[in-house]
């Protein structure tokens, strides 16, 4: 998973790992969101573009087609960039190595219960997001 926030235009780009050609289609999430799909099989979601992300994304994150790891990756990434924090600082806050933290933001990290608890404790917003996601599933 690759995440990039362009603060100058308040737009967030989210890409799942995929080498296939993509094309943006209208999203049913909101008019601020464009969905990147596989050009040959448009049922496969490859990512999202979120305009006006600072006011919209975290409040509506559970509307996106994320699994739990992706949800945490996208949520923790966006909380970090909105607060102007470095990955180093976030790793220290969570008590994990920098490489582990980077893997969390790529949705490649399996969480220990300690890390999961640390995320929930240090970032109450994430606790709410994950809680809502689990309730909905």
């Amino acid at each position: 998973m690759n995440l990039k926030y362009m603060a100058e235009i308040d737009t967030l780009y989210i890409y799942f790992e995929s080498e296939t050609p993509k094309i943006m289609v209208l999203s049913n999430i909101d008019k601020r969101v464009g969905t990147f799909v596989d050009k040959k099989n448009r049922k496969i979601i490859c990512g999202y573009e979120v305009e006006g992300a600072s006011d919209f994304f975290l409040e509506n994150i559970n509307k996106f087609d994320f699994n739990l790891k992706q949800l945490i990756a996208a949520g923790i990434f966006f909380i970090r960039v909105l607060n102007g924090c470095s990955q180093e600082k976030m790793a220290t806050e969570l008590g994990v190595s920098l490489s582990s933290y980077k893997m969390i933001e790529k949705a490649e990290q399996n969480f220990t219960l300690d890390t999961f608890e640390s995320i929930n404790t240090k970032f109450p917003k994430m606790k709410k997001i994950v809680g809502e996601s689990l309730l909905a599933s």
């Binding site: 100058e8 737009t11 094309i23 209208l26 601020r32 050009k39 006006g52």
Partner: protein, 109 residues
């Protein structure tokens, strides 16, 4: 340490100077390999079919070039307060977003 962006290309459209930096080109390239090229970006910026100011994306102008029916190549440009443009990304899309039309090419065959 903050990485200093390197200017790759500079274009001009209707008096607006539009710059492309390595970091933004690499982002577009890695997300859309094989579709985003310097030639595609140049063609779209210099000969767009439509340019709109996005309603939702702050200070963003979208340059559209129609490829085939219902398929457009779009370049996202951040227009700074100093009146220059900076290309942020590019991709293919099936639709044109809502916004203020700044330019529309006429007689497109």
């Amino acid at each position: 340490m903050t990485k200093i962006k390197k200017l790759i290309k500079e274009y001009e459209f209707n008096g607006l100077r539009i710059k492309l930096y390595d970091e933004d080109f690499e982002h577009a390239l890695s997300a859309h390999p094989g579709e985003v090229t310097l030639d595609a970006i140049r063609n779209c910026i210099q000969q767009p079919d439509l340019v709109i100011r996005s309603v939702q994306g702050k200070n963003a102008c979208l340059f559209y070039e129609m490829k085939i029916q219902d398929e457009y190549f779009v370049v996202v440009v951040h227009v700074t307060e100093s009146g220059t443009g900076e290309i942020k990304t590019a991709y293919k899309t099936t639709y044109i977003k809502n916004g203020t039309v700044l330019f529309k090419k006429e007689n497109k065959k």
